[in-house]
Symmetry: C2
Subunit: 275 residues, 2 copies
DNA sequence: ATGCCTTACGTTATACGTAATTATT
DNA sequence: AATAATTACGTATAACGTAAGGCAT
């Protein structure tokens, strides 16, 4: 039977034009490749080469075969790739969350519960997350409200505050409404989903200086005089800055959301295992 | 590297549903196939089977792979077939002749000169043969006149006669014109090309009783009282009938044509080898 | 002389079958 | 008991590399 390795060797020869060069590229000795191609020609049952004493070239049949062989080889590669991607998708839990904080605990929990699965997370607005859950993009969704028709469990509540430099005019307040902050220049991280939407809705005139989440944000926050948001969850991350700052809670109900873990019937066991 | 034999084995397993049955169909021992499939799974790097203690079944990946494997295998088969057909077409000499007789000697000659080639012959009218030569359908054409722009050599001359029963009114003649035979009922073979056209042109009112060439025609000619055409070449074939018959030659120049072998530049060596 | 292809030959590595093991129906 | 898959083990086939030969540039 014709084998893929022979097709591969033939394809390489058709590019290198000599057995010697092709053998080198294939990590094979010259005689081995020579024999392999003779056998291949026999198995096909058709002359593929023009044999001069000192030179081996493809004939018309061979040129046709070279095209065909390359096509077969890429087809096989594509097939294998497709199956690997398919397998990966079956071994991946896709999570959509409308805020970063729930993922900080959720990801490690799932990694522990499903050690053979990859966890892919995405942060988007609450609406997009709900839509993604309904369309099947996410096996698990973290939303700011239960989703009709899906198994939902309260996961955590996050409480928003603002961190001011001590001299700031709001630094003495016991609490604030978001609308009071409208127009203020503030630091804001990227990829905040729900929080991002909330801020842009309630504080349309505020200028937000954007920074990436994580270490970048911490560094800028520490160096800057601008106020920025923290929550009872993110406090844990930003504790080093806390001392030089005054924390004022936000009293709007939307600023103290409860997040829900939601899953469809197919993934109901995800929820069950989590709680 | 993944090999076609593994794809084949996998495809067979996907149809037989057990390693045992598949191994039987593949003329392999059960353990050999079992190992081969384990190795295949490893090479793909993706789980393809669901392993229960006593039962081996395809999982989702495996079902996808089975489809893909079958497609690859048929693609390979088709490719090989295409190349074989292509090779055959390159190893076939297509000859068009305007009459049967030249082929009787030409075919054996070419078979001897080109033992690796298949000879395909076709008998058609002189015009069609010339057109076929010009369009490249024929590497070699036998025509009743040289063809402009092609290498042509006189090949043979054929002389037409009529064979009558001794009592026939034309039986005493030394020669005849074709027009004199117009209206006569005659035997005529099929697939005569030039001769067919000539008869229909010169003897439009004659009723021809058609028979296939070869043994059929001989048998009917022997049994029938009808006159029929013979030539100096075909005489050799019909010698058994000759004795009870009277042969009268036809004097029209068109009834004594010279046939030419014609070939284009690509096939000039055909002509050269023939003469 | 150098590069390229092929044949010859001894060796190694892979693939096979038999036999044994375990588990299921 | 019968069927199915896997593991273990010795063997045989095949594929390989080295060496050698022939031929052309």
């Amino acid at each position: 039977m014709i084998e893929l390795m022979q097709l591969k060797q033939f394809a390489v020869f058709s590019e290198e034009l000599t057995i010697s060069a092709a053998a080198k590229r294939l990590n094979l000795s010259q005689p081995a490749l020579s024999r392999s191609m003779q056998q291949f020609e026999n198995e096909v049952g058709v002359e593929l080469f023009e044999r001069r004493k000192n030179r081996l070239t493809l004939n018309e049949n061979g040129r046709l075969m070279a095209e065909g062989a390359k096509k077969i080889l890429t087809d096989v590669d594509n097939m294998i790739d497709r199956i690997r991607v398919y397998d990966r998708s079956r071994r991946t839990i896709f999570i959509g969350s409308c805020a970063p904080a729930p993922l900080w605990s959720l990801s490690p929990m799932l990694n522990g519960l499903y050690p053979n699965f990859a966890i892919t997370t995405e942060i988007k607005g609450d609406g997009e997350i709900t839509a993604g859950l309904r369309s099947g993009v996410y096996q698990l969704a973290v939303t700011a409200a239960p989703v009709e028709g899906y198994l939902c469990r309260e996961f955590m509540t996050e409480r928003l505050s603002v961190s001011f430099k001590p001299g700031h005019r709001f630094a003495g307040r016991e609490s604030l409404r978001l609308c009071e902050l409208n127009g203020e220049s503030m630091l804001l991280a990227n990829q905040l989903g729900y929080w991002d939407e909330l801020c842009r809705r309630e504080m349309p005139d505020t200028h937000f200086v954007m920074e990436n989440t994580g270490a970048d944000f911490e560094a800028v926050a520490e160096a800057s005089d601008l106020p920025f948001f923290i929550t009872d969850i993110s406090e844990q991350n930003l504790h080093r800055i806390k001392g030089e700052r005054v924390i004022v809670p936000i009293s709007d109900p939307e600023a103290n959301p409860t997040f829900y873990c939601c899953a469809g019937k197919d993934s109901a066991e995800l929820i069950k295992k989590l709680f």
